[in-house]
Symmetry: C2
Subunit: 118 residues, 2 copies
Amino acid sequence: MARDFGTYVRRRREALQATRDDCSVRQVAQRIGVEPSYLSKVERGETPPPSEARIVALAQELDEDPDVLLALAGKVSSDLQAVIRRRPELFATLIRELKRLPDHAVLRLVREVRDGHW
Amino acid sequence: MARDFGTYVRRRREALQATRDDCSVRQVAQRIGVEPSYLSKVERGETPPPSEARIVALAQELDEDPDVLLALAGKVSSDLQAVIRRRPELFATLIRELKRLPDHAVLRLVREVRDGHW
DNA sequence: GACAGTGTGTACTGAGTGGTACACACTACA
DNA sequence: TGTAGTGTGTACCACTCAGTACACACTGTC
């Protein structure tokens, strides 16, 4: 799972590098505020994924969904966790129920909620 | 927040101790597999809350909701996190939408889902 | 052949996590 | 007066996290 994160990032970065030529390990590393060798090791899965803040910065840099990247890193965004912690019983049961539902059902639910049916 | 966890646990444990007399620091500590001095420090908020596994064991021991206790400790159950990580975009948007809804609305949603309307 | 830019190997680190081990002081009670 | 049980203070520890610092080898190019 940590390995997935690395290869995913590498692929995405190299794709961008091919078109924009400003996404070398060094350049991206500098923009997200880490050492190049560290980013290199992360991409090769030799070291575990970075902190949430770096991952979010990386997602922005690679034009990716932060939540997806965090998920690949085995993490869940801390703001989502805060929402759950505020009403633990409620959200715990809801999420455990939703676990068994197929994507399209959850998606329908999301839309309903967003459209203000609740 | 870590302090809350401690005082909450202490209150609950002392209440049980008063009625059942088998919930001293030593006894509970032994049953959840930690040193008494450690549990003592946790209860006084002198050291941060224990690991998820210990907290769940503690919840069972104190007859409390594990998710609530975890929330007091500033954590979210790892199985819930796993559910979210499996479909990050979907759950992220859903949870962020639900954040602004009042309890009763979320509760209604939980019931609907549980009753198989989805 | 100097130079810039590429990725990478090696060594190290300061702070935090999640506790253990053991001694101590106090109270109850037989 | 011993002894059993109560909570706590002190000292310590292995491990992980989240990286830094710097040197190295290779490639293109001027």
